[in-house]
Amino acid sequence: MPATGSSQRSEEAAAPAAAPLAEEHAARHARAARRGLATILGDRGVPGRQRPLLTRLIAVALLVQVVPGLVSGPNLLTLNLACVYAMAAIGLSIVFSLGGFVSVAQAAVMAVGGYILILLFGPTVGFPVALLLAGLGGALVSALTGIVGARVKSHYFILISLALAETIQLVITNATSVTGGANGVGLKAPASVLGLDLGLPTDYFRFITILTFVVIYLADSLRASRAGLALRAQTVDGYLALAAGVAIGRYRIMATAIGGVFAGLAGGMVAIRDGYLGPQNFGLDTSILLLLMVVIAGTGRAGSVVVSALILTFLSQGLLTLTSTGTLIYGMGLIVLIIFAPEGLGGLPRLARGALGRLGARRAGTASDDGGER
């Protein structure tokens, strides 16, 4: 086996029985090297521990200070939208990778949060309260899918979430006296919080960044907690979870509820960003886009979901609003990404290494067949 090829194999072939010290050291070094990038991505190799809060706070402070000076105009608006989507997608990744549900209702859950905020927020109900209620509403609706979904097989769950999504769309379009129907409804008052005027894209960015980091932090905490572990065990092997005394149903419903909170908050922030809401904001295509973000992120860790949310939001905003040629390119891009990046963005470096390895192997005259292996 040539040198280039063996690098990718080493992690597979590590002899575990006695775990020689050298191996352990190598692993630790690799992890330390990864941590540099991981700090930015919000991703730590070891699921056992949380990254210190301080690093996160510094990252937020930097972003909040620097980015509004660098990005402006429509790009900043898209960036804001990407943050909103990132929040909802992180929620969906909890529903998906911890709850084990493939849901196409996340945009509808956002809609619930959005409409709650836009209808409540006004002179009597302050912005923070309205936003919290939006999160709560999202949690309730999402938990509903969990309660039903915990009783049916996975394929059927997709339809159940679809049914919920379409029903919410119907309610929005038909309950014209409340929601304004297809015409939509406008924000009643300008929102401001923490001294930030959310009507300004720059201030909006500052606030949504803070909110996104809170969501990332909570999501990572959930994953790292014993509950998160129990949920992961449950998605992999239900009997293992049962043997550990995990009340599977309850935990799955909890996962959908938490995922719903994030979506509800995101929906509320859509309302603030646009100052207006209509049913078209929360269609099936948005749900699918969110699901794509989760799947393309690959690992289910909050940081990678943010990265894929950024990429996909800019892609979809850039391509989908142009022409049908743009849409065509977008669709093809999705297919290519799904086929050729089996582990999502997180798997890309490995994929590159695999390709290099194969190249080396071919030169040496031997065929190596992993890379796409699952």
């Binding site: 029985a17 056992g48 909570l218 907690s225 065990a233 992999v236 049962l242 550990a244």
Partner: protein, 273 residues
């Protein structure tokens, strides 16, 4: 063994799959600090009995743990009553490390609300450190170093995976431990380590129900045994008694060696006793 002190008791337990009686009218009881063996040919219903005890399959009859009835409870409630079990073929979950698996095992011993990690990271870290220490101690019992904690489950050899699975079951600090063919996939050194570990554990007043095809191992470690064939009990007693019975000798000793778990034993013929 004083009367009234019972770790695990089954009374007239039956399991049906559709029309098939996988287990029929099984009774036995195990006292704390004792190791009870469950033997029988492939498909005789051993795993099914463990599943019935854990509530993974529906069953008729009475099941008691520590004197309290658990039949009628869900799996979750039964485990909380102090059951722990391992699997015949543990599925090495992708992306889970040994540490993850062991923490999962600890699940219901220590409730930790998920927000603890977010709001009081120090407390969470402390809990994690404790859990790591416990895990390392358990692994040390079978001579596995703490370095293994970071390994991915998929990379473990079969024997080590079984060992880790046992440690996982022990993390929940069970009162009754159900082991499903723990030695399959283990080499001789590992089997010896397991033997010593089980002895130590049962000394700690743990009740152990052991399903196993490796009769040499069973002979050495069990205090009592139940022999099953096609879902029915065909023999009870100490290993010496059981191994003197015609049917058992016929079923097992007739075939090559004491360690028969690789080859498929002949079915045990039902006896009148």
């Amino acid at each position: 063994m004083s009367a009234g002190e019972i770790g695990l008791e089954l009374r007239d337990v039956s399991v049906q799959f559709g029309g098939i009686h996988a287990v029929q009218g099984v009774d036995f009881s195990v006292a704390p600090s004792r190791v009870h063996g469950l033997v029988g040919p492939n498909g005789s219903g051993k795993t099914t009995i463990l599943n019935a005890i854990c509530g993974f399959v529906g069953s008729d009859g009475e099941i008691e743990v520590g004197g309290a009835r658990i039949d009628g409870m869900g799996s979750y409630g039964r485990m909380r009553r102090g059951l722990g079990r391992t699997f015949q073929n543990p599925r090495p979950a992708r992306e889970l490390t040994v540490r993850d698996l062991l923490r999962i095992g600890e699940h219901d011993r220590k409730a930790q609300p998920w927000w603890q990690v977010a709001l009081t990271p120090r407390a969470a870290d402390r809990a994690l450190r404790e859990s790591n220490e416990r895990a390392s101690r358990l692994l040390a019992m079978v001579d596995i170093g703490p370095g293994l904690l970071e390994q991915q489950l998929v990379n473990l050899p079969a024997g080590v995976l079984k060992m880790v699975d046992i440690a996982r079951a022990l993390m929940g600090a069970p009162r009754v431990l159900l082991l499903d063919e723990p030695t399959s996939g283990m080499n001789d050194v590992e089997i010896d380590l397991l033997h010593a570990a089980l002895r130590e554990l049962s000394g700690d007043s743990l009740t152990i129900l052991l399903v196993e095809h490796n009769l040499r191992f069973m002979f050495d470690i069990c205090d009592s045994m139940t022999v099953l064939a096609t879902g029915r009990v065909v023999g009870h007693g100490t290993p010496t008694e059981v191994f003197q019975r015609e049917e058992v000798i016929h079923a097992y000793m007739g075939s090559s060696t004491a360690s028969v778990h690789e080859s498929r034993p002949h079915p045990v013929e039902p006896s009148a006793g």
